[in-house]
Amino acid sequence: MATTMTTETPANGGAAAETVPLSGLRRPVSKWIWLGVIFAALLPLIGGQTGLISNFYFLQLSLMIVYSIAVLGLNLLIGFNGQISLGHGAFFAVGAYVTAILIDRYEMHYLATLPPAMFVCFVIGYLFGRPALRLEGHYLALATFALAIAVPQFLKYRHFEPFTHGVQGINIFKPDPPFGMPLSPDQWLYLVVLACAIVMFIVARNIVQSRMGRAMMAIRDQPLAADTMGINSARTKSITFGISALYVGLAGALHAIIFEFVSPDSFRFELSIAILVGAVIGGIATLSGAVIGGFFVQFIEKYADALTKWVTSTVHLPIHLEPWTIYGIVLIVLMYTMPMGIAGGLASLWRKIRPPG
């Protein structure tokens, strides 16, 4: 991605003449996206009231959206700023715990806990990023990995038990919809999560199209040249790390509310990897890829085990498939067929099949 084209191509032929779309930037938001959003917002009315979609599925959809927010946050860091993190599950955990503790111990309104959760994650992300981002590539990967390992242990720490309840975790209760709205708690929270996601996607879109976003991408493409443009790389990278942590922290906070429970073992190292896989599979440096990534994290991963069993029994495979086999196969196939992620793959497919003109 960071290679510079140094070959001389004719001015009006070959690669020079083909215009490649720019990571979905600058194009106006398609009306299809807005239609999709409106449809999603009406789901509780359409599906809920008719009983087509059960509360369980609203919970699943909410989780999917939550993971989309997390994947989006990581994508800002990896896709748009070119930094790696194997530890963003840590910020998910911090966001979840801030919300859970504020609700459980300080009896705050659940919505009021979201800004503090985001703020705390931003600050921790920024402070962690400040020294860590001097590290590049593998070294940064290791430093963030350490963060992912450390945070669950930290949450179990004896002297924090009055706040965290140690390994037992914290139970919180699902809030009822306000104003006596004819919605179930799951349907209401689905709308809350959806609204948060819409706001966060719009904010992300504005960030990547702003001066800050261009600086982020310049650092990703050419770190030295970015410096020569007067960009303070260390500061930009740390702020990006903070923003990315803020997104993932919000996802964690929402997760705590809709899941009604937090515990150190919900936020193990695998969560960091799951978010990373979602970002890569969805499509690095695309915003729409985050939605697909969230879908992948929630559904493919959660159902891989069940799917493996189902495949084994329906096609009567002569061999025994271990759980996660399907997940692994799907991952490998996707990476080989769509190396740019699903969003990138679909975009290039569309360029091939769309009617001319």
């Binding site: 960071a2 290679t3 020079a16 083909e18 720019l22």
Partner: protein, 237 residues
């Protein structure tokens, strides 16, 4: 009148190895000075040391202001446009976005807009390619973009690192013609690093020849050009 750039006893290091062994040179306001020499002579390192990209000792003053030890972005904000080795194209961004990144430090948006117009008078080809992804530009166009980005900083001094690198002779001539215009019209002083000595000596008024991190010869371009021994032993043409 002080010089635009004054370099005294500059030493630079990559980790434990020393790349510059105390070089000194100066660049008059509005002038063009070129640093010549073979691969590994320390030309690129000199530019990087001026910009605070490598560990350096000695004094560098830009228009009277000492900059040694300053961070790159602070040096840039003094009005130094560095056109880096290999052009440093932000490949995934469009041409327009590349130019807008370059306006990152500009507070005066109207002046930045005027500079954009100026850039397009020098490089009309870039205007045609505004929306194109910069990584898909030809090498020559990417070099034009790199120079344009430096111009968007509103520089007093430009550091040009081998603008002829890997380009067809016709494109190189075009780019050097435009560099002369920029020097004359926009009153930008230039420090030019080149392998192509003949070309550089035509453009520059002063030249310094480097060898393994030391200045071995200096003078006006005309002197250097006419000294046959220098030409044969260091410049190879």
């Amino acid at each position: 009148m002080s010089n635009m750039l004054e370099v005294k006893d500059l030493k630079a290091y990559y980790g434990p190895s020393q790349a510059l062994h105390g070089i000194s040179f100066s660049l008059a306001k509005g002038g063009i000075t070129t640093l010549l020499g073979a691969n590994g002579a320390g030309k690129t390192t000199t530019l990087r040391a001026i910009c605070g990209m490598v560990r350096a000792e000695g004094t560098v003053t830009i228009d009277g202001e000492p900059v040694t030890g300053k961070a790159t972005e602070s040096v840039v904000r003094l009005g130094v446009g560095h056109v880096p080795e290999g052009r440093g194209t932000f490949t995934e961004l469009s041409v327009e976005e590349n130019l807008r990144v370059a306006a990152y430090t500009r507070r005066d948006k109207a002046a930045a807009a005027r500079d954009l117009e100026m850039v397009f008078t020098y490089f009309p080809r870039l205007k045609e390619r505004m929306d194109q992804q910069a990584g898909t530009l030809s090498g020559g166009e990417q070099q034009m973009l790199a120079i344009s980005r430096a111009l968007m900083l509103g520089p007093r001094l430009m550091l040009l690192d081998e603008p002829s690198f890997g380009l067809a002779p016709l494109i190189v001539q075009e780019i050097f013609r435009i560099m002369r215009r920029i020097n004359e019209e926009a009153k930008v002083s230039m420090l030019l690093v080149e392998q192509n000595a003949a070309l550089a000596l035509d453009l520059a008024d002063h030249a310094y020849v480097l060898e393994t991190g030391r200045v071995v010869m200096s003078g006006t371009s005309a002197d250097v050009k006419s000294d046959e021994q220098i030409r044969k032993s260091y410049l190879g043409y």
